[in-house]
Amino acid sequence: MRHAACSSWINLFRRQNFVFLTGDLGFGALEPLRDEMGQHFINVGIAEQNMVSVAAGMARMGMSAWIYSIAPFCYARPFEQIRNDVCLHGLPVKIVGNGGGYGYGTMGSSHHALEDYGTLLSLPGMRAYVPIFAADVDPMVKKMAQESHPAYLRLGRCERPKEYAIPPYAPWRRLLTGGGTPALVIGPLAGGVIEACWILPEGHRPEIWGLCQLPMTAYPPPQAFIDLVRLRRKLVVIEEHGVHGSAGQMLAHTFLQNNISLDSFVHMHAVGYPSATYGSQSFHRKECGLDKNTLLKILTG
């Protein structure tokens, strides 16, 4: 998704002025953006607290500022700067974290982002954007650039199945029709879930929905989704994020507030490092039951 984001920022820069700050990340992906933006592309070095506050200071002066790093480095390290300097002032700083969830795999827990949007969405005014496909990035970048809110973009690896036609972008959208268990998926995991399910007969396969924008108070479920879960009285929520502050928790809260009751609500989410060993993103997903085979069993069981 980094390359898609790079193209989007280049196009954005050709239309409007902004600064792009990176915490010394972007090798192999952001060089075209650096070359396009010239002095507006600033490598601030390995100093994320400074990066956030500088961006806030520039935003306070009316400039549009984006910051970029590996996901945990740009939300966990400088959390107080995001809280105090950006969110409490309502400044429209855009935070981009690469490697959502276990995206950095064997690089280890320091590089994983299992609590990114949950943490950030606890702050006032924050919006989170979690693309499912690389094609989602461009409409997200355009939307983020227009909004006056602080925002977080969680980039990952696109897992679109070959020959799968992506439906038009929307915060909530139906990704696969089916007569079986409804599922709501956040992030690129949806690609694998679609791949596992779409060969099943349509009448029995899960109906898969994707959610790309949070929090749910700002982007509530559409009526078609509510009607679906009311009718089938069950739901599986799937996300590569810890349970606290998760989309699953937000949805449960939304359902309770709106008197939507289900017979079954299953939440599949990141659970950290249960074996205390490390591996690829696929390895960690499997440990959490977020691999295709386990999810298929849950969705069709």
């Binding site: 961006a55 806030a56 200071g57 520039m58 002066m61 400039m63 500022a65 105090n84 002032h89 309502g90």
Partner: protein, 260 residues
Amino acid sequence: MEDFTLLRKKATKRLLRMHFESQIGHIGGNLSALDAMLYLHHYVMGKNDLFLLSKGHSAGALYVTLWTLGLLSESDLETFHQDGTRLAGHPIPNWGPGILMGTGSLGHGVSLAAGMALAKRFQKQPGRVYCLTSDGEWQEGSTWEGVIFSRHQRLNNLTLLVDVNGLQGFGSTHEVASMNDLAPRLTGFGLHVVEADGHDPESIRCAVNQQEAATQGPFVILLKTVKGKGIEGMENRMESHYLPLDRPRYDQAIQALEIP
């Protein structure tokens, strides 16, 4: 500087009354910073200049300074530390005039001011950004991140002022985590550093007059100050960081200010 003497007396009296009536501490660091804030706002800064208070616990001194400029009213000051106020113990976000950003957690101001100075450069705006920090604040790693960035970006429209009163929350800066002397440490990062008596307007004036010499990065003024300046029994005492003024000490301080 006769005018400044009168200005300081008026501002100090109002600051003491504000803190006495609200029974709020932090008076020591307000009194160490007040003279520099007054001098900057009245004699140095023009319409294109910006001031950021990084040591947010000196908010009272900033409020009083803005009051002397007519930017805050008497009734504004009467709300200080009261329910429903916009004059909290540390500057709150999104409220001005003269209050650029909410601060209070130390170590944010240098980078915020650097962002503003850089924005000024991009926007081709004249004027400087002035940022007042405490001395204990330089124990925060983020301040040094801001210094590295500011120097690298050659932000020569940024002036950093340090209120070197030598005392912090639970000891002297020397005892707690010594940064003494700050000057060689900052010059080691390539910054242009001068020292001044933070209570002497002439000394501040001389320091400020040198700021254009810093062409390759921020200009730093280390203001030698006295915590609790002017209050007998509070000067250079750590307790003045926290303890409010009691009636006898307040009366004594006001009386002392009346002596020509």
